[in-house]
């Protein structure tokens, strides 16, 4: 009788190969992402989650926070009249920035796209305001808008009255005056993006349109706009989000005044945290800002799912 020995089982080549594939497919990508992910958890997710906690506390930013539930949100929505005013100002700000700089940038990009000689000079001239520090731009415009020394005052001396107004000093014009200055620095950047997008539109499409007898307006409407739609929509989305983050120009030019007329949510957060030592309340406002931002992103996602080409 022949003696039988158990044959040790060996993993088949196919099985090893499958495990390696799974490792490479499932694990290796995570290993690559891990450093960045860890950093993100540390500097983004961690503070974001702690902001949620602090928004539910009475905290002066230095001592131990005291849990007070939704009191900060109740106060923000029902007691603090500054919040409603600031929120409305943010909406006005968004409406301005979704229209004025976008229109200007589209117009300028369309015109510049056809210029060959001196194009770079124009582009640099229009782009320079974007690279100037906000504080320089704001100080320069505060002087230019001065009712005593500014452009309006100089024009009035030359016999052209009407513009020597305290644009930053009137409650009815202060927000628009600040938005004007911010827009002055911003629209050149937008124009450069649109210009870059326009240069990727195939020239044949324009030639075909011209052969079909299209006017300049028809070309713009039926060739240029569809051609740059992804860039345009992306910038509209980002502009809407950034509108809720407005702070620097408002702070430098008016501090939210006069009489709260140019106050935006970003300024309220700063005042709550640094002037009033109310970091818990500032977190609640900040969290609300994030909520509005998510709302805008959600709206775009929803429209895209419904088939909008954005």
């Amino acid at each position: 009788m022949q003696e039988s020995f158990p044959i040790p089982s060996k993993p088949s080549f196919a099985k090893v190969s499958r495990n390696r594939r799974l490792f490479r497919k499932r694990i290796v990508p995570w290993l690559f992402v891990l450093p960045v992910l860890s950093l993100n958890v540390l500097v983004v997710l961690g503070p974001a989650l702690s902001a949620i906690y602090y928004s539910l506390t009475d905290w002066n930013g230095i001592g131990a926070p005291e849990f007070i539930g939704l009191e900060n949100f109740r106060r923000m929505l029902f007691d603090d009249t500054s919040f409603g005013r600031a929120f409305l100002n943010n909406l006005i700000w968004m409406a301005i920035f979704l229209t004025v700089p976008v229109t200007l940038a589209l117009l300028a990009a369309t015109l510049l796209a056809r210029i060959r000689r001196g194009a770079m000079g124009f582009r640099i001239a229009l782009f320079i305001p974007y690279v100037l520090p906000a504080v320089i731009t704001a100080f320069a415009w505060r002087f230019l808008m001065s009712p005593t020394f500014g452009l309006g005052a100089q024009l009035a001396k030359l016999g052209i009255p009407g513009l020597d107004q305290a644009w930053l000093g009137k409650p009815e014009t202060s927000l628009f005056a600040v938005a004007f200055v911010d827009n002055w620095h911003w629209w050149g950047f937008l124009m450069m993006l649109f210009l870059a997008a326009m240069q990727n539109v195939p020239p044949e499409l324009y030639e075909a349109a011209r052969i079909d007898g299209a006017s300049r307006w028809d070309e713009f409407r039926n060739v240029t706009l569809p051609g740059i739609r992804p860039t345009l929509i992306f910038m509209l989305l980002m502009t809407a989000i950034w509108s809720f983050l407005a702070f620097d120009y408002v702070w430098i030019l008016t501090r939210g005044g006069p009489a709260g007329s140019s106050e935006v949510l970003g300024v309220l957060v700063f005042k709550a945290a640094f002037s009033n030592l109310e970091s818990g309340y500032a977190s609640a406002i900040g969290l609300t800002l994030s909520f509005f931002t998510l709302l805008i992103i959600g709206l775009f996602v929803m429209l895209r799912r419904r088939g909008w080409e954005i």
């Binding site: 002066n60 930013g61 230095i62 001592g63 131990a64 505060r142 808008m145 001065s146 009712p147 005593t148 020394f149 107004q165 305290a166 930053l168 000093g169 009137k170 409650p171 008016t254 501090r255 939210g256 005044g257 006069p258 009489a259 709260g260 005042k271 640094f274 002037s275 009033n276 030592l277 109310e278």
Partner: protein, 463 residues
């Protein structure tokens, strides 16, 4: 809120410490737990290495003052002290940076806050080292005016030392006044009549503006509170014996609002909101504006707007801000506070540096070399030689008034943080007509009550 000024204050206060002793109530250097017992000894000194401590300086205003202090105060200390090296770090928005750093367990070893109410919050949060043992060791109780030392007391312990002593006065364009035959006003009625007369002649009554610093609002509100309602009434409200909604305060806000709406300040609210400090100081120096209600921090810089430097032939003068009865009344203030950061590894070294900063000779250097107002410590008159006699005059008048109880309370030193911010921000809504004086003060009272409940009211010197 400190920083209620564009430039640092400077007036000699040789006698101030003694003069202001009367209003104080709390013990100047109360017994407390020994901080030294909890702290590490000055490390490194024995090994011959210098112990390094940090002091952060604000350069948001350009850094001229910070550099002057570093050159004339910090560097001499480093040169003469064998065991401690102070590292002077300059940065913009130093208050925001240090507040955040300290909350995160770091920050400068010597901690500078904008005023006693902010130091109070940090002390309550356990972020500051008690100074009582150091006060005993270095004799701060004898050196400081008790009222100023008491501003740093929290729950019976000393946590901060107040820096520059400030007050608000009425500057006037002397040359213009002589030309027009005007007399500097002593009473509020005279002030109102003069403002009306100036406006009729096309002259701006008061050079003013808050385009760069909203705190200008509180200079005005604080002055009107103390002058219309009276310092006793302000004291009563700060200590909870009276309400901010009482008729005297309503009257004060309404009178100030009336003057703002008449365009007495810079020619109208719109111009007040857009005028920078250079702009309104230039208008004052050139004679376009007759008067300027501002703190003593303007004194070292006033000559930039008069005479040769400003390309005019005008001169200036000053009087105490007019009061109801004509008696001089000065609202007392301190510029900022210094404390020892709880996170420091070398509290003893910081205390030694702190002691140096408040030595009479160091304070005299602050004043004579950098123009910065001294703290409420006794200075040697001989060390103030060479100062403008008008500054000395401010000192003497302030001294006399303080002896006779003629002092009031500035908002940035004695108001709690939230109420103070409200006072500054919301007054513009009264001026614009969005709310009434009564509504404004009701809002202030509500916040004040909350802050009383939270124990956020800084020590108030009694009358």
């Amino acid at each position: 809120m400190k920083a209620s000024r564009f430039v640092p204050a400077a007036f000699a206060i040789t006698l101030l410490a003694g003069a202001c002793a009367a209003p104080s109530v709390a013990p100047a250097a109360p017994p407390a737990q020994a901080p030294a017992a909890e702290q590490a000894p000055v490390a490194g000194a024995a090994s011959g290495e210098k112990v390094k401590i940090t002091h952060w300086f604000n350069i948001t205003d350009g850094g001229e003052m910070a550099n002057c202090i570093i050159d004339n105060i910090v560097k001499p200390f480093n040169a003469q002290n064998a065991s401690i090296e102070v590292e002077a770090v300059t940065m913009a928005n130093v208050w925001d940076a240090s507040k955040t750093a300290i909350a995160g367990g770091a920050g400068p070893d010597l901690f500078d806050t904008p005023g006693p109410s902010y130091a109070l919050a940090f002390a309550r949060a356990g972020q500051l080292v008690p100074l009582d043992e150091y006060a005993k060791k270095y004799g701060w109780g004898e050196r400081f005016a008790p009222w100023a030392l008491n501003l740093g007391m929290v729950d019976g312990k000393l946590y901060s030392l107040s820096t520059e002593v400030e007050t608000v006065v009425l500057y006037y364009n002397k040359t213009l006044f002589e030309q027009k035959g005007w007399t500097p006003p002593k009473t509020l009625d005279e002030l109102a009549a003069l403002a009306e007369a100036a406006q009729k002649e096309g002259i701006i009554p008061f050079a003013s503006g808050n385009a760069e610093w909203k705190g200008v609002n509180e200079w005005l509100v604080g002055e009107w509170f103390n002058r219309i309602a009276g310092p006793q009434k302000v004291y009563d409200a700060l200590t909870g014996k009276a309400k901010w909604t009482d008729p005297e305060f309503v009257k004060a806000v309404e009178m100030l609002t009336d003057m703002q709406r008449k365009g007495y300040f810079m020619g109208g609210l719109e111009k007040y909101y857009t005028a920078t400090s250079d702009e309104f100081h230039s208008a004052f120096g050139s004679g376009k504006a007759a008067m300027n209600i501002e703190g003593t921090w303007f004194l070292p810089f006033i000559d930039n707007f008069f005479g040769e430097k400003a390309n005019n032939t005008n001169d200036w003068g000053w009087v105490p801000m007019p009061s109801q009865d004509g008696k001089p009344l000065f609202n007392m203030a301190v510029g900022s506070t210094y404390s020892i950061n709880k996170n420091t590894k070398n509290p003893d070294a910081v205390a030694e540096y702190l002691n140096y900063l408040f030595l009479p000779e160091t304070q005299a250097s602050y004043l004579t070399k950098c123009g910065l107002a001294p703290a409420a410590v006794k200075l040697d008159a001989a060390s103030l030689q060479g100062l403008d006699p008008r500054r000395i005059e401010v000192l003497e008048t302030l001294d006399r008034a303080a002896r006779e109880g003629g002092y009031g309370y500035t908002t940035w030193t004695f108001w709690p943080a939230k109420t103070n911010t409200y006072l500054i921000e919301e007054i513009e809504k009264v001026w614009s007509g969005a709310i009434t004086a009564q509504q404004y003060l009701e809002g202030m009272q509500k916040l004040f009550d909350e802050e009383v409940k939270a124990g956020a009211i800084p020590p108030i010197p009694v009358r």
